[in-house]
């Protein structure tokens, strides 16, 4: 094969990636235009209405945006007290030891479990537990969904943060030790400030995951088209409304669901971009 042809093939694969990404944005946008035209862009985002009665159709995304933000932030909150210790365990206390790689494998295995299996487990194990604790009658709701979501994002937050904690230069830590600092003080005043931006970006990426997570949330959140006002309220997220209603949708409803998909795409892209940007800055 001539080198010229080979180089053309290489570049054309890059063009394929360009086309796929461009095509995605185009298709999502053109699919959501009917909904935006009917309701107006900002009106669509800030309207809590979701009414599929024929002739009286009205759709808005606010309910699902609030549901998504609530479950994801709550999941992030639940995940921090476990993922941060795991990161310190692997990256500092037991760095390079066998026990650290065992914990690393456990975390990797958590990441490997498919969303649908988490959902099934949440449905048959966690939900009855919530009911027996008397937190809610059916066990569905924001709390149940975010608990499972928290378990699902621990691996993403923990493995990346542990990388950044491990990369903190040994001389700085030794300097602090030589001044009489305890290990806790080294972690608090050397490791956290230095690895801080990296850890922050790890949590941003975990948040991005939580936003787009579909199956487990759909099975547990209760699927009610209302804005949840308490932790045990049922609700819907952007991903779960698409999963639940896409199959039977047509016309304006389909367009509205595609519009919600577009919004989800934009939000996760921004969150991931911020996370990646911080990592890139650190690497330079």
């Amino acid at each position: 094969m001539s080198d010229k042809l080979f180089k053309i093939i290489l570049s054309s694969s890059a063009v394929i990636i360009l086309l796929i990404s461009g095509g995605m944005v185009y298709s999502l946008t053109s699919g959501s235009i009917p909904a935006f035209k009917e309701f107006g862009f900002f009106n669509f985002i800030f309207s809590p209405e979701w009414n599929a009665t024929p002739g009286n159709e009205e759709y808005g995304a606010l309910t699902f945006i609030v549901g998504t933000i609530m479950t994801s932030l709550l999941a992030l909150l639940f995940c921090i007290p476990f993922s941060l210790p795991v990161a310190i365990f692997i990256g500092e206390y037991f760095k390079g030891k066998r026990i650290a790689s065992v914990l690393g494998t456990i975390v990797d295995l958590l990441a490997g479990i498919p969303s649908i299996v988490y959902g099934l487990w949440g449905f048959y194990v966690l939900r009855p537990l919530i009911v027996s604790l008397g937190l809610s009658e059916q066990g569905f709701g924001v709390l149940t969904a975010s608990l499972v979501l928290a378990i699902m994002i621990i691996p993403y937050a923990a493995s990346l943060s542990s990388e950044f904690i491990r990369l903190v230069p040994g001389e700085l830590k030794e300097g602090a030790y030589s001044l009489g600092a305890t290990r806790a003080e080294v972690i608090q005043s050397i490791i956290f400030p230095l690895a801080g931006p990296g850890i922050f970006s790890a949590y941003m990426l975990a948040l991005g995951r939580a936003f787009g997570e579909t199956m487990a949330v759909t099975m547990l959140i209760g699927n009610a088209n209302i804005i949840p006002t308490s932790l045990t309220d049922t609700g819907n997220t952007m991903a779960s409304i698409i999963a639940n209603q896409f199959g039977e949708a047509g016309g304006l409803k389909l367009s509205s669901l595609i519009a919600i998909g577009l919004l989800l795409f934009i939000i996760t892209a921004i969150i991931n971009y911020i996370g990646k940007l911080i990592i890139k800055r650190r690497n330079q």
Binding site: L5, L10, I20, T182, F211, G247, Y273
Partner: protein, 286 residues
């Protein structure tokens, strides 16, 4: 130097706290595995791999007679394998070639855009990929199909393969390439005969991990493959997958045991892929 009592206690408390909380992270994993194995192992027999999903009625009869549910998840397994195979056929060549492109052109403008877009693709929620393939494949074909499911999975696999190929190639010493070129080999034969064989382990591991990531995907398949109660070899017809079967029947109390078995099967499949990937990456370490 003497450490004050307060500082000493704080130091120990953090140490113990970190160990306890880290240990607690293993609890959900163990809880899920125990539940899936205990509930699922009894249904896994020969029929489980060769029969299609039973109807609720069959399941009720079996449960009332105190027997295990007849039938299996053959329709799911066949559909899953077909769709993953199609996804591999599409994503592996494009992914590897694009990975080579990115590794070879570190400074070009197009490469940095493509690198950015690959990151973007990697972060797209899988349900959004489902919507896009619904628009691209399901609407023009006027039917849900295994092809659509395969294409959706390939879009999820593609960025993973691109990045793992690029990372592997970047770890290769440049002297390897220079040696090939100095012997008068053409650029393409250096890539095919020197670079790719030396990077084989890393690339193959990346592919296995990408497969294990998409094999349990459900959300994009709901919008593209839909599901099917029979074994479907025609890729232009709606198809099922193991994960779709779990979604379809998780609410059905009569088929509950079958669903746990399907989950066990899925977990074992993913576990084996991961173990395999780890062994290969250890064996072929650069």
């Amino acid at each position: 130097m003497k450490i004050s009592r307060y500082r000493n206690i704080k130091n120990k408390a953090l140490y113990i706290g970190v160990i306890i909380l880290s240990g607690l992270t293993a609890v959900p994993l163990i809880a899920i595995l125990v539940k899936v194995i205990l509930k699922g192992w009894r249904q896994i027999n020969f029929d489980f791999f060769t029969q299609t999903t039973p109807t609720t009625l069959d399941a009720i009869y079996a449960i009332n007679a105190g027997e295990i549910i007849p039938g299996g998840i053959a329709n799911g397994i066949i559909g899953m394998l077909l769709m993953v195979l199609m996804a591999c056929v599409i994503a592996i060549p494009i992914g590897i070639i694009c990975g080579i492109y990115l590794a070879e052109n570190t400074k070009s403008h197009l490469a940095s855009i493509v690198r950015f877009l690959t990151d973007l693709l990697q972060g797209i929620p899988s349900i959004v990929v489902g919507i896009i393939i619904y628009i691209w494949v399901v609407i023009p074909m006027k039917s849900y199909s295994a092809i659509a499911g395969g294409v959706a999975l390939s879009i999820i696999m593609l960025p993973l393969i691109v990045r793992s190929t690029e990372e592997t190639l970047k770890m290769l010493p440049t002297t390897l390439k220079e040696a090939g070129l100095s012997l008068g080999a053409s650029y393409s034969s250096v890539v095919f005969r020197v670079i790719l064989p030396s990077a084989f382990g890393g690339i193959f591991t990346g592919i296995l991990l990408a497969v294990s990531r998409v094999i349990g995907e459900t959300a994009p398949l709901m919008l593209t493959a839909l599901g099917s109660s029979a074994v479907q070899w025609d890729v232009t017809k709606p198809a099922s997958s193991v994960s779709l079967l779990i979604w379809e029947f998780y609410n059905d109390p009569n088929l509950q045991n079958m669903i746990w078995s399907a989950s066990l099967f899925l977990l074992m499949f993913i576990l084996i892929l991961n173990i395999f990937a780890k062994r290969i990456s250890n064996k072929w370490r650069i």
